[in-house]
Amino acid sequence: MYKYLSILRINWIQALEYRGNAYIGLFAIISGLFIEYQIWSLIFDSKNMATIVIEGSTDGYNFNQLIVFIFLSIIVGQLKSSWMTSSQMIVEIRQGLINKYLIRPISYFWYNFMMFIGVNSIYYIVYTLLLLLFIFIYPDMLFQNNFSIIGFFITLIISIYISYCIYFIMACFAFWFGEVRSIVVAYNLGMLMISGQYMPIRLFPKEVLNILQWTPIPYLVDFPVSIATGLVLITNSIDKIILSLFWCVVLTALSKIIYNFGIRQYEAYGQ
């Protein structure tokens, strides 16, 4: 257990070196929100709308509620993302550097997970501070329901874990193909939109939403944010939580299976 904690610690130290990333991350949140704010106020003003129809709410959402939802979506969306860890894993596989893990009593899946958490830790800290600041300024917009804080926390952890598994699976394709990096880039770009980071998925056309329900995508951004904003009550969503945990199990199993296949391939051919 300690070995994983020490990996975490090293990554925290390294993450502090990259403090600039945190500043840019903050800027990205505020800038992104600013653009969304412009678009939605134009829409609300020109249509003289008081509320917008949003899946899961009978009264609809007013402008402020929508903006807060988008604000939190951008934050959660960033928290679950990764560029560094998956690139690093791909490089390690392609260049045969994975050997150093194979000869040690360590699980590559969990090692990488610690890296993932470690590298993103600076964002966890900085964005939490941002959220706390927001709640301090606008105390009535988030976490109004019972257990919503802990519900948000749990679903956020699940979201990060699911996201990690997806990155891990994609990176495993490096055992067979060269340019897996392109797949990760495409995934990140696509996810920006489809996970609801900038446009709540609840506003998507119904057909699209129905397809998404069959994937783990709603659990990446929408589920945690809906709980925090009160659109969904944690007490009514036990089934959804169980479903998200089911996805965790499925993706973990898939990760391990694909990894084992890949390792066998790796050992058979060198690298």
Binding site: E17, Y18, G20, N21, I24, F27, A28, S31, G32, I35, Q38, I39, S41, L42, I43, S46, K47, M49, I52, F177, G178, E179, S182, I183, V185, A186, L189, G190, L192, M193, I194, Y198, M199, L203, F204, P205
Partner: protein
């Protein structure tokens, strides 16, 4: 002067040939890069499709106009990536790896060399497809007519817009002379460039004025697309030229200062 242009063009051709020959080695990657472009374009398109469930007009851009704007943006993006985009954020790596030293030792403008060294050949295909699409869209937007004058102004406007795009990213990338671990420069630039990727009409008036002047993001895609949609606006066109030359000049200043700093600090 003519001799110099000729020489630089020959050098660029050599860059193009070398990159093409290298890219042909990695065919899957070539195809993947095109695939990535279209995922990105597709997701932006999807974004606006959702928006248009709620509204028919974004300022003076209706749905068709927004689509023309988007395709213009894709072409501007591809053109930039073709000529310059792949290199700008490598400046940080070039500094770290010492490649910059080799570039500085050649009797050729180092800013040109570092900005044009690798040509993103795969974008040629995107540019081709998108250009055909754009012609079709503008044709039907103007009730099935070709407004030649628009295209004549569109092309230089697109190029000047590209220079502004380049200037912005280059200025940000050059900050790595002052901040050694500036690996997130690309991210910062991406967030700023986002302002150019929405039709300027979504922004409030005071902010729009900024976008057409000191933070000229609207100059990159909005101006050329407006030419195709609403016709030529001579004032705006010349403003774009002025701003693009101004910002290009600023890049040369920053590059020179950056090199001075590099020479006093590198070890």
């Amino acid at each position: 002067m003519k001799h110099m242009v000729n020489r630089y063009f020959k050098v660029w051709l050599a860059f193009f040939r070398n990159t093409l020959s290298r890219d042909m080695e990695y065919k899957t990657n070539f195809i993947f890069e095109i695939f990535i472009d279209f995922i990105y374009y597709g997701s932006l398109f999807f974004f606006f499709k959702v928006i248009f469930q709620f509204i028919d007009q974004l300022g003076d851009f209706n749905q068709d106009a927004v689509i023309i704007f988007l395709v213009t943006m894709y072409i501007a993006d591809s053109l930039y990536v073709f000529l310059l985009g792949g290199n700008v954020f490598n400046i940080n790596n070039n500094i770290k790896s010492g490649d910059l030293d080799f570039i500085l030792l050649k009797p050729i403008n180092s800013q040109f060399f570092i900005s044009c060294r690798y040509v993103n050949t795969h974008t040629l295909i995107s540019i081709l497809i998108l250009s055909v699409l754009l012609i079709k869209l503008t044709y039907s937007y103007h009730d099935n007519s070709f407004l030649i004058i628009n295209y004549i102004f569109f092309i230089p406007s697109l190029i000047f817009g590209m220079f502004i795009f380049y200037s912005f990213e280059f200025i940000i990338a050059s900050l790595s002379f002052w901040f050694r671990n500036f690996s997130y420069a690309g991210w910062l630039a991406g967030e700023l460039i986002k302002y150019s990727r929405r039709p300027d009409s979504i922004y409030k008036k005071w902010f729009r004025n900024i976008l057409f002047t000191i933070f000229p993001m609207a100059m990159i895609c909005s101006v050329p697309s407006r030419i195709l949609i609403f016709g030529v606006n001579i004032k705006l066109f010349f403003l774009q030229i002025f701003i693009s030359i101004l910002f290009l000049w600023i890049t040369t200043l920053i590059w020179r200062r950056g090199l001075l700093r590099y020479e006093s600090a590198s070890s």
